[in-house]
């Protein structure tokens, strides 16, 4: 008949505990493996999202930086334009003033010279005119009355003494004339090209 033995029962209990423990271990390992798989998946998703946001931010930042750089350059160009405006106003004022004052003073000097007499006018070619009286002075010539008649001596023909050219500011290189030309250039749009 069945005989109860403690030792057999104990062995059975131990075996049962081992089997249950093993089952629990395997179950727990399965769970952890499942969690691990899920965690791997989450890591990949999180990295993907972070990378996507990084790219979006990079593009946005790049657009913002480009705009900032462009606005900075525009500001510099506007400042340069203001400086050019100031330079233009200053130069215009100075040139207009000097051109006007030179034109006035040259006109006065030429007017005052009309009728004045030069006893002997030595000419660049070695000749001379005696008892010359100034009749008229314009930008490029002086007309004289002298012992032998009337003479109109042109700057361009190199007939006039350099001293008179300078004194009456004659010729295309005259100061008043040059300043007037410069004044004209200021408003000439072609000059800006």
């Amino acid at each position: 008949m069945f005989e109860f033995h403690y030792s057999t029962f104990l062995k059975f209990l131990l075996l049962l505990a081992a089997v249950l423990g093993g089952c629990e271990y395997l179950s727990r390992t399965d769970k952890l493996n499942a969690q691990l798989g899920e965690a791997h998946s989450l890591v990949a998703t999180a990295k993907e999202i972070a990378e996507a946001r990084r790219l979006e931010w990079t593009q946005l930042k790049s657009a913002r930086d480009k705009l900032d750089a462009a606005l900075k350059r525009e500001n510099a160009a506007l400042q340069q334009r203001d400086q050019l405006d100031q330079k233009q106003r200053k130069l215009e004022g100075e040139i207009k003033y000097l051109a006007a004052s030179m034109t006035d003073i040259v006109a006065q000097i030429r007017t005052a010279a009309i009728g004045s007499v030069i006893k002997e006018l030595k000419l660049p070619d070695g000749g001379s005119l005696q008892n010359t009286k100034i009749l008229k002075i314009d930008d490029n010539s002086i007309s004289f009355l002298h012992n032998d008649g009337v003479a109109n001596l042109q700057v361009s023909a190199e007939k006039l003494p350099q001293e008179l050219i300078e004194k009456y500011d004659l010729g295309t290189n005259g100061l008043a004339k040059s300043l007037q030309l410069l004044e004209g250039e200021m408003t000439d749009p072609e000059k800006a090209k």
Partner: protein, 87 residues
Amino acid sequence: MLEREIATLEATVKAGQDAAKKYEQDITALGGLMIEEKLKQQAADAEARILALEFDNAARQRKWSAIETDFSKLKPAAEAYKAAQAK
């Protein structure tokens, strides 16, 4: 062993989520994704204005430098002429 690995991965997920969140905050600080096209358009408009300004400035710079150079030669001569006539 597995638990440690899971913990490490969870920390990595958290770091990734934090990074994404930080980028989102930065994107918001810059005005949001919606304004990217607007920013590009504004930059293109500014570039067009700069081009016109720089072209105009360069032309004016050349013109006024040339006039300034000529004037710097004429001015002392004119002043000297006026001074000589005043004597």
